[in-house]
């Protein structure tokens, strides 16, 4: 034992001695003879460290459909156009030399043809030069891949007129021919043909969900689609992880991937042959750190330039010295959606399933008086103050603040007497007389949704002792399955923008074909017609009328209870400059090329 202790002691002393070595190392490697990039050379002014906990799923631009993938992809690759500053409806050219418009002739044929002039002298990270052929190939390849659960429905909808390359598990006949014809090269220009006008098209192209440009030759060399229609089916719908560009990249952006160690760190390095201005930050590191205390201490000690702060921890950094917080309202709304035709099969959320005081009938929320009663029972002011410390936008309809044609529609003000009046009228007075019992479920871990559920439950129960509402939680993965089986009388759920257009929200929440409209069993023919018209209408004045009317109907029909519009807080050390907020880009976002220290 004594020998062992001595051995350990000797080892400790050896290591202690090694601790003095870094200085020697630095001295040795500072000599011009060695070309080694040392740790010491990565000065703090050109290095940016972000600590976050989002897991990167893929680097393949055709498959990434989450904000973490989007952030990595958009710092490595570039689209043809991008949002101008914080605007959602104005764009700047990136790999195109100008943004197509009616004025410059880039948009023609009544909004069905878009022509992009391609920038020259742009180099890919691996050395290739950008051509119009690369642009056409990239757009087509994204649609050919069309992974299940991926984002390509937007591009397919716009350019081919169908949301998927498959139907009932089989490839749609002629779909690849249509994809091929939709995008063509004319000299240094790329022309895109739409079957119908699609006003949000430019916004879709400005995001990573379809607008990323890649090097055709490099893609084919690395196992991607070879560009022929005949072979397209072989490259369609790859399994998760087997997409060829999952972990490799070759973009044109000012940064290339130096290292990706999943769930540990992702390192960007400045690309010296970038066509645009040289960014100030040389090395960008995204470190995975799930533990809040540890992230907070890293920010406090200056070991991280920015950390991801969830709303519940905001108060802990608000007064932290040397820290700047940028609140950014997101195009992301959460609502409590009433299901008007609940599935009674083995459903624990509706009690007896009858109007007998021990449950609710499957059409409980089909009575507008019930819906209005719940809306009157939601205290928006208190909710905003207590849950969000007033750092939140309270939406009045699914059309989030910041979207075109946003309108502040009336809300059912918090009034328990009015709520009681509505309940007395519901189901001919039977609900008031017999009472009811139901469950409101929120997804586990979402404190804001939990608070909304409890507020609704407690206020409704205060109306009548015969009213009984239980609040439960469920894991997110189970939650998304259950609401799609019509199992919840009310589901509290959010929606983040795929593209900044009211169609993406109003259709989703209100149309009987929209995800939430469908699973809330809400059906209004006028709504369905307006949603369809709004999607393809190119005249802004007519679109305004359509979407304003839809927002009014949201109020009139008391379709659901809007709970909050997310506000993300980008929290930096105050020596970091250059952050540009954008409502489409959530807290996982960072544009390294804009930052400086």
């Amino acid at each position: 034992m004594r020998k062992l202790v001595m051995l350990l002691l000797a080892f400790s002393l050896l290591l202690a001695a090694c601790g003095e070595k870094p200085e020697m190392k630095k001295k040795a490697e500072k000599t011009p003879a060695t070309e080694t990039k040392t740790a010491a050379q990565v000065g703090s002014n050109d290095k940016f460290i972000l600590e976050s906990y989002g897991t990167l799923r893929t680097l393949d631009p055709a498959c990434g459909y989450d904000s973490v993938s989007h952030m990595r992809i958009m710092n490595i690759y570039e689209p043809l156009i991008f949002f101008d500053g914080s605007a959602t409806d104005k764009f700047i050219p990136v790999l195109a030399t100008e943004v197509p418009s009616l004025e410059n002739g880039g948009i023609s044929d009544g909004g069905k043809t878009y022509t992009f002039k391609i920038r020259k002298g742009v180099k890919f990270h691996k050395g290739g030069e950008l051509t119009a052929e690369d642009v056409a190939y990239s757009i087509k390849r994204h649609m050919v891949v069309d992974q299940e659960g991926g984002p390509m429905w937007m591009m397919l909808e716009a350019l081919v007129g169908v949301p998927s390359t498959r139907k009932d598990g089989k490839i749609r006949e002629g779909v690849f021919e249509k994809i091929d014809k939709a995008v063509e090269v004319k000299g240094d220009e790329v022309v895109m043909h739409l079957p119908k006008p699609f006003p949000p098209f430019l916004a879709v192209l400005a995001y990573s969900y379809g607008g990323i440009i890649m090097d055709k030759e490099w893609c084919v060399e690395n196992g991607c689609w070879d560009g022929t229609v005949e072979n397209a089916a072989k490259y369609n719908n790859p399994a998760f992880g087997s997409e060829p560009l999952h972990k490799i990249e070759n973009g044109t952006a000012p940064y290339y991937m130096l290292k990706w160690e999943p769930s540990v760190e992702f390192i960007f390095e400045r690309f010296d042959d970038y066509w645009g201005p040289k960014p100030a930050i040389k090395t960008g590191i995204v470190r995975y750190n799930q533990e809040w205390s540890s992230r907070k201490l890293a920010l406090q000690n200056g070991d991280a330039d920015r950390v991801l702060v969830d709303p519940q921890y905001l108060a802990e950094v608000e007064n932290m010295p040397g820290v700047t917080i940028h609140p950014v309202p997101q195009l992301s709304v959460t609502g409590a959606i009433f299901c008007q035709k609940i599935n009674p099969e083995a459903n624990p959320n509706i009690g007896s399933g009858k109007l007998d005081g021990k449950g609710i009938p499957v059409d409980f929320f089909s009575d507008i008086h019930v819906r209005k009663a719940f809306l009157h029972a939601f205290d928006r002011k208190t909710y905003a103050k207590d849950v969000w410390n007033d750092q939140v936008v309270m939406p009045t309809s699914p059309n989030a603040k910041g979207l075109p044609y946003y309108k502040q529609v009336p809300v059912y003000e918090f009034d328990l007497e009015k709520a009681a009046e509505e309940m007395k009228q519901a189901f001919g007075g039977q609900i008031w007389e017999k009472g009811f019992k139901m469950v409101i479920t929120h997804n586990t871990g979402n404190d804001q949704r939990e608070a909304a559920a409890h507020m609704l439950a407690e206020n409704i129960m205060s109306l009548n002792p015969k009213f009984n509402i239980e609040v439960r939680n469920m894991d997110w993965k189970d939650y998304v399955v259950a609401y799609r089986k019509y199992q919840f009388p009310m589901f509290i759920i959010g929606w983040g923008a795929d593209f900044p257009d009211p169609d993406n929200f109003m259709f989703t929440f209100m149309s009987s074909d929209g995800v939430y409209g469908k699973f809330s069993a809400y059906k209004n023919e006028e709504v369905d017609r307006l949603c369809k018209e709004g999607r393809f209408e190119v005249d802004p004045a007519k679109r305004k009328d359509i979407y304003e009317r839809l927002q009014d109907i949201w109020y009139e029909d008391a379709v659901g209870c809007m709970v909050y519009q997310k506000v993300d807080h980008f929290t930096y050390r105050d020596n970091v400059k250059g952050f540009v907020p954008h409502p489409m880009l959530d807290h996982e976002w960072e544009s390294l090329k804009l930052l400086s220290k």
């Binding site: 090694c18 601790g19 459909y65 659960g149 290292k259 540990v264 760190e265 590191i285 998304v480």
Partner: protein
């Protein structure tokens, strides 16, 4: 002895089969939609759940799904980990060294300190040394690991700026990436790779990040070993041979260390072996709080996200570790105590 070892190794096949059937059966209790939802991260993607069920055959009969999994494993494909965003086998070799590195430092310390404190407490029964170590052991054992880890993090890193969390500093990490010709990741453990590459400052940096995790692990786990050792010592010190030794005039050191402690070590070996085997799963709390992505972190995330290929593979790995560690313990028994014969 050889026949015994071969028999135990053959037994491993049945254990692995049992474990795989059990875990697979448990996972099959989740609906196909629930398992397909693993691929879904946003409400937008939820519309594709039925298609995903079909694509991945999640609605097929359970035996067919099991046979498909066995076939894939037999061909060397353990599946794709959604949590790790890469194949399970690759992810394993990335996470396992992190856990192993922690345990290579923590386990010897746990054993040495546990035996030392247990001996001390046993020899000084009912003195302040005994009471002090027992109270310490109870506190260490009953204190939630994550809380203890957080307190250490707050004091050392938060207040003094010492021992940062993570596996290695960003500067060192960048240096390693930019110098592939000078630094080879032989083992995936920076402490050892630093030595093997002759860059001891890398080892030092890695150790700097290991101080708090090791300290947490040692303090939390040592309690159990200490108590077993103490009980063993008390039992041995009350035996006849100790009285005989005392009557023969043997000194206290010889009696306590050479006679009693040697015999008291037998139950300690069992516990220590089990603890070392258990630690290979990784400590979830330690790895999460100190931001060390190891086996514990991976397993916990995979369990909450129902990452089936990971759960299956890691449970099988744990099965192998436990069978082998039991086998090693049995063999060690035979060497330590000649009265035990393996049959």
């Amino acid at each position: 002895m050889t026949a015994y070892i071969i028999r135990r190794l053959l037994f491993l096949i049945f254990v692995l089969f049992g474990v795989s059937v059990l875990i697979f059966g448990l996972l099959m209790t989740f609906s196909p939609e629930r398992r397909a939802a693993v691929y879904v991260t946003t409400p937008q993607q939820a519309k594709d759940i039925p298609k995903l069920v079909k694509q991945y055959g999640l609605n097929d009969p359970v035996p067919i799904q099991y046979a498909r999994w066995v076939k894939e494993v037999a061909s060397g494909n353990l599946g794709w980990s959604l949590v790790a965003a890469r194949p399970v086998a690759k992810a394993f070799w990335s996470y396992f060294p992190t856990t192993l590195e922690l345990n290579l430092l923590a386990s010897p310390l746990v054993i040495i300190v546990g035996i030392w404190l247990g001996t001390l407490a046993g020899v000084h029964r009912d003195t302040w040394i005994d009471h002090g170590t027992r109270i310490g052991a109870i506190v260490g054992w009953s204190l939630p690991t994550f809380l203890f880890a957080l307190v250490l993090l707050m004091i050392f890193y938060g207040y003094y700026g010492l021992f940062p969390p993570g596996i290695i500093s960003s500067d060192t990490s960048l240096w390693v990436i930019n110098n592939p010709d000078k630094f080879t990741r032989y083992t995936g453990m920076y402490t050892i790779d630093g030595i093997l590459n002759g860059h001891l400052w890398v080892t030092w940096d890695a150790l700097n990040h290991l101080v708090l995790p090791v300290l947490t692990q040692v303090i939390v786990v040592v309690a159990l070993l200490m108590r077993v050792m103490r009980s063993g010592m008390l039992e041995e010190l009350s035996r006849d041979y100790v009285i005989t030794a005392k009557a023969k005039g043997a000194d206290a050191h010889t009696i306590n260390i050479k006679h009693a402690r040697k015999n008291a070590l037998i139950p300690v070996i069992t516990v220590a072996g089990q603890l070392v085997a258990l630690s290979m799963e990784g400590s979830i709390a330690v790895e999460v709080v100190f931001s060390r992505q190891g086996m514990g972190w991976w397993l916990a995330h995979s369990a909450t996200q129902l990452d089936m290929p990971v759960l299956m593979s890691v449970c099988m790995f744990i099965g192998v570790v436990f069978v082998l560690s039991n086998l090693i313990i049995d063999i060690m028994y035979a060497y330590i105590d000649p009265r035990i014969q393996l049959q």
